[in-house]
Amino acid sequence: MATTITMPQLGETVTEGTVAQWLKKVGDSVEKYESFVEVSTDKVNAEVPAPVSGVIRELIVKEGETVPTGAPIAIIDEVGAATSAPQSAPAPAASRPAEAPAAARPAETPAFQPPPRASQPALDAREVQLRREADRQGADEPVPGHSFVPSNGSSRNGNGHLNAPDILRRVSPAVRRLAREHSVDLTGVRGTGTSGRITANDILAAAGREGPAAVAAATIVLDPATQAKPTAPVSSAPRTPGATAKPSYAAAAPGDLIPLSQARKIIAQRMLESKRTAPHAWTMVEVDVTKLWALRSAEKEKFQREKGYSLTLLPFFVHAVVQSLRAFPLMNARFTEEGIAVNKEISIGLAVALESNLIVPVIRNADEYSIGGLAVAAGKLIEKARAGKLGADDLSGGTFTVNNTGANGSIMSAPIINGGQAGIVTMEAVVKRPIVTADDAIAVRSMMNVCLSLDHRVVDGAIASGFLVDLKKRLEAMARGATVL
């Protein structure tokens, strides 16, 4: 009987897969659970086990070809099936021990052949164990509350239980989150859990630290608020008396060697990577925010009273940035080897300074918000950031970044682009300056510099300047009576 093998869905959001490599040729025999193809997706690369034992009849998809999940990729003739007997008979020969001169004698009676199972490559111990477990789970049914293998999910072995290869292929929420936070490629991690499952600690070990100390470090990444207290580990390991004198980032003293927190390591790595891979160009405009400042001052109190969040210049700025990104979609793009990928979403990362590091929560689909909505969304994210309550979702998906460097008094800065984005824009401090107006008078105006770092691989200066001038116009047009919150 011929079984058609389809492209598996490797992850719930994955819609297609690429055949990276066929591990078997047409005519090769394959054992159930034996890997026969390597599939890569934008999330994971995985070796896919054969669902049945048999002989490869046809490889439908070529190596390097991408097909939707569920599309047929190969046909396997199952062993012992009557219809496939003529094709499958010579197949075991390929893996038969050398002393059996079988290939030339297809008519030999089956009784003299080694059993097909024995002719297969020896199973490693773990695989045998997996099978035993799978069998046991089947045999023990029903034992409510006793079997540990989760019974949810899409692929089942007929008993409602995930079979062992499914566990190997799946990752827990914590593993997924940590892998993303630490930029660990799952395909390179050796699992130490049940059935070789990748555990959270495996990710932390791969990221450079091990054991309970790493657990504490990871929690720190999740809860930025605790980063200011590196001497108070979250783990219950006994605390060293007198550890209070340990050098810390928050209270740096001359001569200290401050240990790198996990967050600081990640910042270092990402900054270096961005600066190394993306050729940064820089440009700046001056923006007259006198009218915008008046608008904001007029609405500030009412907004605070009604919405409970303060109305700063930030939401006006983000709103204008979003409009300008719409007008210049190439600024909302990223460089890939295949081409310039122009993002569908406009999601703005906001750089938020914490006591000992920097974190960039993201307003997803920022183009769907009003100015007031942005004020509330930003206020909530900043609150969460300071309370250390940002989740993985709050930190992912940014397509462009806004950095409010003016909050610290800076009037000009050259920011580093957040990796995978085309640019980052800063809003500098608003200062009063004498300005020559259009009609040659001298006036005192509230001025703000806006600086842009751009990835020169994605856009050139003309587009970047066009974007920045567009942003300037939008900000200068914001005024009482003209702008709706």
Binding site: P144, S172, P212, T219, L222, S236
Partner: protein, 334 residues
């Protein structure tokens, strides 16, 4: 914060209940006790022995075998200013009083828009493993924890019993106070002799660990601690949280622990389906999904109508310490 260690005496759980009730009767003339056999007999576990002689039959009231009346009368007493402690002799007998507890006591404050409160404590021994068969083994917490307006506590250490029983008596609203009968004389520990109360709604981390969080209450906390101790010999580190209060539930302590260990095992004697573990599990998945490195697991009573009398049936119902240890090992290895 330095606090002088309070003076303590070693007691078992029965003595802790008796000591706390005695102290409350002495401190507050509004405290009364009513229930079956609480007077002349001095309670079937001898918890109130001698109380009727000391405090009189007006404060230590023997009632007929009528649970609806025991709680109903106590609700009236509470609304009019007394501090009744109603006893249901065994939790298995509480069903006739369901309406008085759920329909009246829990809703008094809400129904009267805060004009009346119902400072009522309902004490009852629960739980199995004592060859109590169908009528002396049941766990009832899940039947009541769905009800807003009702607090439920189930401490199982002598000091926790004193602290929470004192808090329950002083609480302005109804509290269901569950005492695991197998721990009554099994568990001993120091109890502060002076006034001592523990806030309702706070769990207690009885053992700190890093690889697995175990949340339990009642008898099983003690077994979980034994199992964790066994695993420690092999270098495995299990955190054991005693819920103590079932409602309100201490989400903060549970979530902090799960975020640390990334794995959660819930153990309770009450039936699995719709039990306390289901609520804890849902809460953790809602609030700590991205911290979980393993499926949450529950070790609970099987979904059978009652605990059998025959030893094999009771043993099958009750979760043994080795079984807890096996599951802990499995989860840590996962």
């Amino acid at each position: 914060m330095a606090v002088a260690a309070p003076e303590t005496t070693t007691m078992n759980n029965v003595e802790a209940v008796r000591h706390t009730l005695h102290q409350a009767l002495g401190n507050d003339p509004n405290v009364v006790i009513l229930g079956e056999d609480v007077g002349a007999r001095g309670n079937v576990f001898l918890i109130t022995k001698g109380f009727i002689e000391e405090f009189g039959a007006e404060r230590i009231i023997d009632t007929p075998l009528a649970e609806a009346s025991i709680v109903g009368v106590a609700v009236g007493m509470a609304m009019e200013g007394l501090r009744p402690i109603a006893e249901i002799q065994f939790a298995d007998f509480i069903y006739p009083a369901f309406n008085q507890i759920v329909g009246e006591a829990a809703k008094t404050r809400y129904r009267s828009a805060g004009d009346y409160t119902c400072p009522l404590v309902i004490r009852t021994p629960y739980g199995g493993g004592v060859r109590g068969a169908l009528s002396h083994s049941v766990s009832i917490e899940a039947l009541f924890y769905h009800v807003p307006g009702l607090k439920i506590v189930a401490p199982s250490f002598p000091a926790d019993i004193k602290g929470l029983l004192t808090a329950a008596i002083e609480d302005p609203d109804p509290v269901l106070f569950l005492e695991h009968k197998k721990t009554y004389r099994l568990v001993k520990g120091p109890v502060p002799t002076g006034h001592f109360s523990i806030p309702i709604g706070k769990a207690d981390v009885k053992r700190e660990g890093t690889q697995l969080s175990v949340v339990s209450y009642g008898l099983y906390v003690h077994q979980a601690l034994e199992a964790a101790e066994k695993l420690a010999a092999d270098g495995l580190s299990v955190e054991v949280i005693d819920l103590r209060s079932i409602r309100p539930m201490d989400r903060t302590t549970i979530l902090a622990s799960v975020k640390k260990t990334r794995k959660l095992l819930i153990i309770h004697e009450d039936n699995k389906f719709g039990g306390i573990g289901a609520e804890i599990s849902a809460m953790v998945v809602e609030d700590a999904f991205f911290d979980l490195d393993a499926p949450i697991k529950r070790l609970c009573g099987p979904d059978v109508p009652a605990m059998g009398y025959a030893a094999p049936l009771e043993e099958e119902f009750m979760i043994s310490t080795p079984r807890m240890a096996d599951t802990m090992r499995e989860m840590i290895a996962f």
